[in-house]
Every structure is written in C-alpha cells, then in structure tokens.
Symmetry: C2
Subunit: 417 residues, 2 copies
C-alpha cells in the first residue's frame, strides 16, 4: 500500500504505488500554464487555458475521440499537428467548435496560430487545440484569440490550477494533481489536468486530459505508455454511454529533470505504474463527477469469451435501470440479470453468477438467499462493486460507471438555452 | 384520413385506416377475459389476468424477447406451448418470475396447468403464461393459482378493461382498445391489451401485448402478419434502451365472426393494415408512457447503407443526452450530432444533415442559421420529429423514443425496496 497522504488517491480501486508521492501543486520543470476569462462563457468565468513547454525537445503522444463527427480542433490536431512533438496546448471551454464546418476549421487554425505566437514556439504544428462545450454554435474567434494573448502573458509554473479551472464545463470540481515519481535514476514530476463529466464512454469521453512530466522519454515511449494507460483508465469509464466529438488526451515530456526513462527498463515500468495510477484515479474522479453522480459502480465480468465479457460490462454500465438503482442505493440485482440477458441474446437459459459487494445474489441464473438488509446497507456507500460470472473462464474486464440521478436530468435538460 | 373519432389514434404518426372504426370496448366474439387481485402486488391491486378463447379451432402466433436471461414463463412458452394454437393466456404482474431457476419453471408450469383447468381448454400446451414485475424474487405460487381460479370464474366478454389493468406494473395508464375492421367479406373485430413502460428496446420491450380477433386466419397468416407488424411497431420504440426478460406478444384469432381472411387477398391486406395501425398506436402509447415521459420523439434516418441508418437511429433514440434535451424542450441539436458521430466512428468529417420539426439546423455537418425562437417553440409539443440525412440514399428507418426526465429517476431509483 501507499505512503501517500490520500488527497488524490481516494478510491479503494486505485492503489497509489509506493514510489509515488503527492505534491502540493505546480508543474514539472519546463512547463507553464495559465487560465483566463475571454468571454466565451458568461459572467467572467475562466474559459481559456494555455499550456506550454519551454523545452524545444519536448516529446509527446496524443489520443482523440473516434467519433464520426469529430470537432474542428480534433480534425485540426489529426491533420496539422506533429503529435510526437507538441510544445503547447490551447483549450477553450463553453463552445466545442463542432458541427461548424469550414469556418470552424479556420477558427481552430486561428487559435493554433495565436497560441504558437503567444508561447513563442517555432511552428504551428507544435500546438494542439481543444475545445469543449456546446456543439453547433460558431466560436467567437476574436474573443478566443484575444484571450490567448492574455493567457500567454499569464503563463506560470504554478498556473495548473487556473488551467484546470479554465477547461471545465459541467464539471462539479476541477481535476488536477501533481506527483513526484521516484525512479532509480532520480525523482521526476508528473502532473495532470482533466475535465469530463457527461458524454463519457464508450471510448474515452468529453474528456480532456493533459499530462506533463519533466522526465525525458522518447516519443515512442510516450505513445506506448499513454496507449496502455488510457486503455486501462479513460476507456474503462462510462457516465452516460455517450461518445463525445471532442475527447483529447495529451502527454508531454519536457526532459527538463535531466532524468531519462529508457525503454524496457525498471524505470519505464515505474513511470508507467505512476501514469497508470494517475489516469485511473482521474478516470474515477470523472465518473464520480458524472453530472451529478452520487455513487460510482465498478462492474467486473469474468467468463470464457472476451467479446461476451466486454459486451456484458458495457450493457451493465450503460443500463439506465442499473444506474438509477445505483443512484437509489437499491440492491435491485434483477436489473443486472436483465442487462446481462440483453448483452447476450439467444443464450437462454444462461448460467450467470452475480455478486454485489461480495454478497452472492445469483448463482447459475437463479437467486441465492442472502441477507437483504446487509446488502441494502452495503450499496449505500460511495463505491459499489458488482461481479458477474459468465460460463467459462480466461476472459475478464472491468468498467467504472456513474449512477443516473436527478442532478443529471437537471444539468442536461436545459443546457443550451 | 380516418373517419374514426380519435380517442385511440391520437398520434400524427399513425393514420387510422378508413376501414377501421373504434368501438366502445369489449372483445371479439369467442373471447372472454378477467382481471383479479391475488396478492402478488400490495394493497389489493389487480395483478392476475386471464384471457380465453372458447373456440377450439383458435389460431395464434407469438413473439418473445431474445434476452439471454429469459424469464421462466418465456422459457416455458417456447418449450411447452403449441404457439400456433394458443387458446388461453394467464398473466401476472408484480413479479417477473425471472432468475428463479427450476422452481420458477415449476411455478410457471403450475400457472399454466391452473389456467388450463380454469378455462377448460384441452391441453396445457394451449395455454401461454406471462409474468411481469420484479426480477429475482420467488413467485408466490399459491396466491397465483388461487387467483387463477378466481379469475376463471370472472371471465367475461367485456372483461378487457380489467385484464388490461391486471397486467400493468409501472404503466401510468392501462392500454387497450377495441376496433371494428370492415373487410370485403364483412366486418370483424380486433382488440388488444398491452402493458409496457420501462425496459423498452432494442427489440420489442417489457412489453406484454395480447391481440384478439374473431376473423378466421390460418396460423401461418397469423404468424406472417404478426411478424411484419411487430417489426414496424414494438421493434421501433425505445424507452430506455433496455431489453426485458419477459417481452411477449400474442395474436389469437377465434374465427367466430365466420369471416375468413385468405392469404394474398385484399382482405389480408386490409386486416394487416388494421393490425399495423393498432400495434403502431399501442407502441406510441407505450413510448408516451415511458416511465414518466413528457414527450415522444420520432427519429427518421435516411442514407445509403441500412446498417449505418439503423445504428444512427438507435444511437439517437437511446442517447441520454438527446432524451434529456427532449424532456427539457430544448432544441439542442448538437447532441444529435454527437450521437450520430458515436454511431459512425472513424467516418469524420461526416456530411450529416439534421432537421428538427422540419427546420434544417445542420447541412453536410455544418450548422445552418435558423429561427432559434421558432424552433424552441416547436420542440415544446408532445411529439417532436428529428430527420437525419447520411450520405447516400436508398436506406431509411424510424424509431420512436421517450424522453428522460425526473419521473424516470423517481420511478426507477427505488423500485424493489
């Protein structure tokens, strides 16, 4: 277990590695960030964030939504960025710049150019752009570019809090942390700022997550570690089963610590473990912040066939009936039975096993007498675990999911107008 | 258009055929029904329905959920019923008799036997059984079999209202109607009783629907017409994207009118049109009653590829973001863009067209300036239509869906306990 004071690593489902400590804040060496209000959101709320590495040799890796209606910034990043060498990132909240056609692409390019100027990086292809907010509304580009100039003047090594604040939309709280990671070669820093609440799943989310380290990693190592850890974190959460137009995750390594993480070494493993814990805890924070979520569920499915195991986990995590039961603190495991049956049609009678918080409630498709009062108490906690056994063995998966409650309705029933 | 006083055919999306008239109630000749309280539900609510045809030559057809966790009654019907000659149907509400293992199958068989005795039909294989309600709780079988005896004594030609009442669970209103259908060979009657609110989709539903006619149809014609009309009705609605363990639709024809509907005749077409309008309107009633639904949406998707069109319609209809916007009377078409992109990954930039209530809001993936105030008013009505155009032509589908609002949460957050 961890020596870390558990400010950040709060979930029982994420163990902080013993070589990782939480720092009070601030960015790894070489990075500066800022967050300003440029008028895209109402009432002076922070809505423009800028993030910059001052190290010319910065390496990076990125992942984006697979949506067929990717936002203009995502299209721009995929087409015009050197994704293995991103120096700067500019982000606005309040407007997704999606379904905005050619003008939207021009606006994203204008943001990219303004950020390149503001950060003093060589080429626009070294600047990534991200936007989150309402879809289908033209971006007020003058406000954005003016904001970028202001943000450039405000860049600070301890600006991570402002940056995290500026990328929020319906998030109930800002999500960021700074960690020290002790490698054999010495200590490096790892920090991250994320946003995400609704539209999370089935790939990673209306999730924006920016991760920085002052370790020196090759671009290939960045890409490998980010790929693996995103699969185990943001791809394993679902708030409402929706895939966003705008999901973006970027890892940047400045190398300014002077410590190099070589491939296939113990330090690569240790760095990867730290990144893994970081992204999994952030993913859980996002599920906890799932637009009014009261509780988070974890469904673990085991069985003989990976496809069936995966479909079952998705069906349970995305079931509005399971999610409302979780919200209500209701041990209604019949809804798990229903979701499993939906995921695996034409297999009846199916010998499914179900346990909730360790209590077996269903064995080979049939209810098991159990202490209903104890179970009722167990599902009142913040985190509830469901284990599902399908016939066979060898395949396993997990998903974290938000509940579905009144706050989700309130937030989403009147979001544009 | 129709001459029918529009008590039943209320939706603009279902035209009542001109040869169909609504009757004040009652069953086609040969049928009797009843509904009684047997104590499965609390507080004396009707919870056991019996339906019987007195004609030994009754023909029938049935459709069931494809769930991998089919309820005991569904398994029993599939294994032990002569589905082309169902004389009687026994239904309880308040308990789904699902995930109940071998005892559940024995209970379903006991209900079947009791109903065969009570209705005086020859063989148990002529009795279908259906149960709806909580999953994973043993059925109180003594209460059910005692209730069946009582119900048998209460069978009446005008018992359709009691029967429809007895099969309700979370339905806000009972769903039943009686129609006269004028064929060339003479007039026949068509009646139906349905229940269904939550767990509707992606196949047909926690839907129970029982349809009776006194026309004489071969079992093959019953099966053909039921198959086609179920595809166009119950398979085109979604309340919450969930598939039930218990969906059952049964059509029975007593032949007691003396009028025969021969295959491939004008009368077969006319009977089919009447059945089609009946089931579509019932499906819309179910979507309107979608556990607290305020509005119903219809999404029509056109494009070049049937699979893409179908996936897109499902993604829109099942999107909790689209559904909350519908609930809020919010013309947030960006959520349609998002759902389409989710349905069709790796296709960006996608030239999608979107119109809401006839107002084009998105053309080839880009927003179209429009009168936002007029659109805002248009989406306040009870029924809201979304048209989506994908590239290509030749494929088309539609889906009807409920909104997602506070009432759904309230109903579902505390259903078992």
């Amino acid at each position: 277990m961890s020596e870390v004071a558990t400010g950040f690593f709060r979930s029982r489902w994420v163990g902080a590695p013993s070589h990782v400590s939480e720092l009070p804040g601030g960015l790894p060496r070489g990075f500066r960030t800022s967050g300003v209000a440029c008028g895209i959101k109402e009432a002076g709320a922070l809505d423009l964030g800028l993030l910059c590495s001052d190290a010319p040799s910065t390496t990076s890796a990125a992942r984006f939504t697979r949506s067929g209606t990717q936002s203009a910034p995502v299209l721009l990043c995929l087409e015009r960025c050197r994704l293995e060498g991103i120096r700067a990132v500019v982000v606005n909240s309040g407007n997704a710049n999606a379904a905005t056609g050619l003008p939207g692409l021009e606006h994203a390019a204008a943001m990219q150019a303004a950020a390149a100027r503001g950060c003093g990086v060589g080429g626009e292809q070294e600047v990534a752009v991200a936007s989150t907010g309402v879809i289908g509304v033209p971006l007020p580009i003058e406000a954005a570019t003016t904001g970028i100039e202001t943000a450039a003047g405000a860049l600070r090594a301890d600006g991570d809090g402002d940056f995290a604040e500026a990328i929020r939309t319906t998030d109930a709280f800002a999500k960021h942390t700074s960690l020290e990671v002790r490698l054999d070669a010495g200590a490096v820093r790892l920090s991250a700022q994320a946003k995400g609440a609704g539209m999370i799943s089935p790939r990673f989310a209306t999730l924006l997550c920016f991760v920085q380290s002052d370790a020196a990693l090759s671009a290939e190592t960045c890409d490998l570690l980010l790929g693996v850890t995103v699969k185990r974190s943001f791809e394993r959460i679902s708030v409402d089963g929706q895939l966003s137009t705008s999901d973006t995750v970027i890892l940047q390594c400045s190398g300014e610590s002077g410590i190099t993480v070589e491939p296939e070494t113990g330090d690569e493993l240790r760095f990867g473990e730290a990144l893994d814990a970081l992204l999994r805890q952030l993913a859980l924070q996002i599920a906890h912040d799932g637009e009014g979520a009261r509780r988070v569920g974890r469904v673990v499915v085991r069985g003989g066939e990976q496809g069936a195991v995966e479909r079952t986990a998705r069906a349970v995590a995305d079931s509005s009936l399971v999610k409302t039961a979780l919200y209500g603190g209701d041990p209604n495991w019949g809804r798990i039975v229903q979701a499993v049956g939906m995921a695996l049609p034409e297999t009846a009678p199916l010998a499914v096993d179900i346990a909730i918080e360790g209590t077996q409630v269903c064995s080979r498709g049939e209810y098991v007498p159990h202490d209903a009062d104890a179970l009722k108490l167990a599902v009142q906690r913040d985190e509830v675990e469901y284990e599902i056994g399908l016939p066979g063995e060898g395949a396993e998966t997990e998903l974290f999911f938000s509940d579905l409650g009144h706050e989700y309705i309130t937030i989403n029933a009147d979001y544009t107008t």
